[in-house]
C-alpha cells in the first residue's frame, strides 16, 4: 500500500513537472516580442545584391524556440554551418546569462564585401561581414555573429544611448562565447588563433602558434593600449575600437574582481530592470553594484574618466643583509619594495576615504617571493603616488609583482608590474629572438631579389 502511495506521489510530481515545463515553454513563446516582419527585407533591399537564404529552426537549452534565418552572400554559403553553430552557442549562452531571447526569430544578414553600410540596431536582425576565405581556427567570423547577437540584448532589448557601453558589453559577451566555441571545437581554452591577411587582405592565414587569450586579445586590448585614455563621449568612428576595448576591459576587470557569478547576476538584473527602456552607464553600474551588494562608484568614476589611465608599477626592489639582528639568530635580509602609481586613475576597492595613516581598500594585490621559497601577499589601496613595503626575513627577495593575477585589465602597461633580483632567464624570450632572427635572415634573402 505504501509502495502504491509513493508511486502515485511520484507520478503526480512528474506530471506536474511536465505540465509546468510545457506551460513555461508556452509562456516563453507567447511572451516573445513582436518583430517588424519587413525589417530584414528592407535591410537587404538597402544593401542591394543577391542573397542566398537559409532557414534553420533552433531549440535552445532553455526550451525556447527560435527561427534562425541566414541571408548570405553567394560566395559565403560555405560558412552557413559555422554561422549557425556560433548563433546557436551565443543564443544559448546569452539566454542563460542575461535573460531569455526576446524574439522568436533571428535573421543574420551578411553585408556585401566593401559595403559602406554602417551596422544598425534592428530587433531580430544581426548584420555580419563574412569573408570569402575564413580559416577554421580563426574565429573572427564567429566573433561577429556573437557580437551582433549580444546587441539584441545590449542595445535592442535594453536601449543604451551610450554607444561605448553597448559596444563594450557586446564585446565582452562575445569574448566569453568564443572561448566556449573554441574549447568545444579544439579542446583548448583559447579565444581564437591569430589571423593574418595577405594579398590585399584577401588571403588569410591562422598562425597556429599564436593562440589568443579571451581576456586580452579577445577584448582587443591592443586597441585600448594604443589609446588608454580615450574619451568615451567621443562620437568619431576612429576611436570606436579603443572605446569598445576600454569598456570591455573594465567589465572584465569587474568579472575578475567580483567573480563571474556576481557579475552575471548584475548583467541579468540590468536586462530585466531596463528591458524596453533606456539605460545609462551610471544606471548599468548601479545595477551591477546592487546585484553584487557593493558600491562600485569608486571604480566607474575612475575607469571611465576621460584621459584617465591606470598604470601601477614596481619601481624598486632591493634586498640587503641586515646586521642589526632584527631577525634573531641566523642571516637576516631587509627587503624593500617600492610601488608606484604612474597613472591618474586609482584602483582602490572602495569609495570610503582613508582615515589618517590607515589605507581604505585592498583591491591591489602585491606578491613578494623570497629565495627560500616563502611568499608574501599584501594589499594596497593604490591611492598614494608611491608606497614602500619593507620585509625582514632570513632570505633575500627574488621577485616582486603588483597585481599578479592580472585583475586590473585596464592597467595599460603590464611590463612594469614586476621586478626581479634573479638573473634574467632567457627561457621565455629566447624563442622570440630566435624567430625574429630567422625572420630577419629571410627578409635579407627576400631583399636580395632586388640586388
Amino acid at each position: 500500500m505504501k509502495s502504491f502511495t509513493f508511486t502515485c506521489r511520484v507520478a503526480v510530481v512528474a506530471v506536474a513537472v511536465v505540465l509546468w515545463s510545457v506551460a513555461a515553454s508556452a509562456v516563453a513563446q507567447s511572451t516573445a516580442l513582436p518583430l517588424d516582419p519587413a525589417a530584414a527585407e528592407t535591410l537587404r533591399g538597402t544593401l542591394g545584391g543577391a542573397f542566398i537564404e537559409r532557414r534553420i529552426p533552433l531549440e535552445l537549452t532553455s526550451g525556447t524556440r527560435c527561427d534562425l534565418r541566414l541571408s548570405l552572400q553567394p560566395d559565403h554559403v560555405q560558412h552557413a554551418d559555422r554561422i549557425a553553430d556560433a548563433a546557436r552557442e551565443a543564443l544559448d549562452q546569452y539566454d542563460a546569462w542575461f535573460a531569455p531571447y526576446p524574439f522568436n526569430q533571428l535573421t543574420i544578414v551578411d553585408v556585401p564585401w566593401q559595403s559602406p553600410h554602417e551596422d544598425q540596431r534592428i530587433a531580430g536582425v544581426v548584420t555580419i561581414r563574412a569573408r570569402w576565405l575564413q580559416p577554421e581556427r580563426s574565429l573572427t567570423l564567429e566573433a561577429q555573429v556573437a557580437r551582433g547577437i549580444a546587441r539584441q540584448w545590449w542595445g535592442t532589448r535594453v536601449n543604451i544611448p551610450d554607444r561605448a557601453l553597448a559596444d563594450g558589453l557586446a564585446e565582452y559577451a562575445q569574448s566569453r562565447t568564443l572561448e566556449r566555441i573554441f574549447d568545444r571545437r579544439h579542446q583548448r581554452n583559447n579565444y581564437s588563433l591569430l589571423e593574418t591577411r595577405w594579398f590585399g587582405g584577401l588571403v588569410p592565414w591562422a598562425i597556429r602558434a599564436a593562440r589568443l587569450d579571451r581576456q586580452t586579445s579577445g577584448l582587443n586590448r591592443a586597441a585600448f593600449r594604443r589609446n588608454p585614455g580615450v574619451d568615451l563621449r567621443d562620437r568619431s568612428l576612429v576611436v570606436r575600437p579603443a572605446q569598445t576595448a576600454r569598456v570591455a576591459a573594465a567589465i572584465t576587470t569587474l568579472e575578475r574582481y567580483l567573480g563571474w557569478p556576481a557579475l552575471q547576476r548584475g548583467l541579468s538584473s540590468a536586462v530585466r530592470r531596463y528591458a524596453g527602456q533606456s539605460m545609462t552607464t551610471a544606471m548599468f553600474f548601479e545595477t551591477l553594484g546592487d546585484a553584487a551588494d557593493r558600491d562600485l562608484s569608486w571604480f566607474v568614476d575612475q575607469a571611465f574618466a576621460p584621459g584617465s589611465t591606470y598604470d601601477y608599477a614596481v619601481s624598486g626592489l632591493t634586498s640587503i643583509a641586515d646586521e642589526t639582528g632584527a631577525c634573531g639568530e641566523g642571516p637576516c635580509y631587509r627587503t624593500t619594495v617600492v610601488l608606484r602609481r604612474l597613472g591618474a586613475a586609482v584602483f582602490s576597492g572602495t569609495s570610503l576615504l582613508p582615515v589618517g595613516p590607515f589605507e581604505s581598500g585592498r583591491a591591489l594585490e602585491v606578491e613578494v617571493r623570497f629565495a627560500d621559497g616563502q611568499r608574501s601577499d599584501d594589499h594596497w589601496d593604490g591611492r598614494a603616488a608611491e608606497k614602500t613595503l619593507v620585509y625582514l626575513g632570513p632570505a633575500p627577495a627574488t621577485l616582486a609583482r603588483i597585481d599578479p593575477a592580472r585583475t586590473l585589465l585596464l592597467d595599460f602597461n603590464r611590463l612594469n608590474n614586476s621586478r626581479t633580483l634573479m638573473p634574467p632567464s632567457p627561457a621565455a624570450t629566447l624563442p622570440w629572438s630566435v624567430r625574429w632572427t630567422i625572420w630577419l635572415q629571410d627578409l635579407l634573402l627576400s631583399s636580395s631579389f632586388f640586388f
Binding site: P74, W113, W198, R208, T437
Partner: protein
C-alpha cells in the same frame, strides 16, 4: 632538353661549390645574428615562468608581444607575430608584391647586406662559372674587378624598381584595382588581384632578369654597365623560353620549400615547437632559399656562357 640541361647545370655548379653556399649562409647569419642578440637583450621578461620545459614550451603570448612592441625600447618595437613560422617568408613575398617596405631602421641591415652581397657576388659568379675551385684570391680578384660596376648597376636597378613601384604598382593596385572590383564580390576581386599580380610579377621578374644577366656580363664578360644591360637585353630576347623555365623551376622550388615549412606546423608538436625545432626548421628554410637563389644563378651562368660561346 636544353632547358633541363641548363637547370641541372645550375644545380651541379652549386653542388660543386659548397664553400660558396657556406660563405653566403654565414654572411646572412653575420648580418642578422648580432641584431637578434641585441633584440634578446632589449626584451623584458614576460613575468614569472616557474617551469619551462624545453619539450613543452608555453605558447607565445601575443598580448605580451603587443605590449613589448609598444613599450619596449630598441628593436623590440619591430617584433610582431608575423615572425612566427611560415608567416615570415610568405609575409616577405607578399610585401614585395604589395609594395610594403620594412620599417625604416631595418633598411640599415638591408643596405649593409646589399653592400656585402655586391662585394662578394663577383667571386661567387666566377666560381660558379669555372665549375671548379678557384681559390680565395681569384674570387676576391673577380669581386674587386666588378664591384664598382655592380654597385652602379645595383643602384640604377634600385631606381628602376622604385619607378616600377611608384608608377606602375600604384596605378595597378590603386585606381585600376578599385575600378575593377567596384561592386564585385570578394572572390571576383581575388581573381582580378591575381591577374594584376601576374602582370606586375612579370614586369618585376623581367627587370630582375635584365639586371641578373647584366651582372653576369659585367663579371664574366667584363662589360661596361651600359654594354652589360644591352647584352642582357639581347640574351633575354634570344633565350626567353629558357629564362622563363629557370624562373618556373625556382618558383616551384620555392613553393615546395614553403609548403614543407608550413606543413611542419601541422606535425604533432609543430604548432608550438621546441626551441631546437624552431632553430633547425628556420635555418633549413634559409638554407633552402639560398640554395634556390644560387641554383638560379648557376643556371643563368650556364645560359650566359653557352649564349656567349654560340655568338
Amino acid at each position: 632538353m636544353g632547358i633541363l640541361r641548363t637547370w641541372f647545370s645550375g644545380v651541379w655548379r652549386v653542388v660543386r661549390a659548397p664553400a660558396v653556399v657556406t660563405g653566403l649562409y654565414v654572411l646572412i647569419l653575420v648580418v642578422a645574428a648580432p641584431l637578434g642578440a641585441w633584440l634578446q637583450l632589449s626584451l623584458p621578461s614576460p613575468g614569472v615562468v616557474d617551469i619551462v620545459d624545453a619539450n613543452d614550451p608555453p605558447a607565445p603570448d601575443v598580448d605580451w608581444l603587443d605590449e613589448v612592441s609598444l613599450h619596449a625600447p630598441g628593436l623590440a618595437r619591430f617584433l610582431t607575430p608575423a615572425v612566427i613560422g611560415v608567416a615570415a617568408p610568405i609575409g616577405h613575398l607578399d610585401a614585395i608584391l604589395d609594395r610594403r617596405r620594412p620599417p625604416m631602421p631595418l633598411l640599415i641591415p638591408i643596405a649593409v647586406f646589399f653592400l656585402c652581397w655586391t662585394a662578394v657576388w663577383g667571386g661567387v659568379v666566377e666560381r660558379l662559372a669555372q665549375g671548379r675551385r678557384i681559390g680565395v684570391s681569384a674570387a676576391m680578384a673577380a669581386s674587386r674587378r666588378s664591384m664598382g660596376r655592380l654597385l652602379i648597376l645595383g643602384l640604377s636597378g634600385g631606381a628602376a624598381y622604385l619607378i616600377l613601384y611608384l608608377a606602375v604598382h600604384a596605378v595597378m593596385f590603386g585606381p585600376l584595382y578599385e575600378w575593377l572590383t567596384d561592386g564585385a564580390i570578394e572572390r571576383t576581386a581575388f581573381i582580378w588581384r591575381v591577374a594584376l599580380a601576374v602582370v606586375f610579377g612579370v614586369l618585376l621578374l623581367a627587370l630582375s632578369q635584365l639586371l641578373d644577366f647584366a651582372k653576369l656580363a659585367i663579371i664574366l664578360g667584363r662589360a661596361s654597365v651600359r654594354q652589360a644591360v644591352s647584352d642582357s637585353g639581347k640574351l633575354l630576347r634570344e633565350r626567353l623560353l629558357t629564362v622563363m623555365a629557370l624562373l618556373l623551376f625556382s618558383g616551384l622550388g620555392l613553393v615546395v620549400l614553403l609548403g614543407g615549412y608550413a606543413a611542419s606546423e601541422f606535425i604533432p608538436g609543430g604548432s608550438v615547437p621546441s626551441l631546437a625545432r624552431v632553430i633547425v626548421g628556420g635555418q633549413a628554410l634559409i638554407l633552402g632559399r639560398l640554395l634556390l637563389r644560387l641554383v638560379l644563378a648557376g643556371g643563368q651562368v650556364d645560359l650566359y656562357l653557352r649564349s656567349r660561346s654560340a655568338s
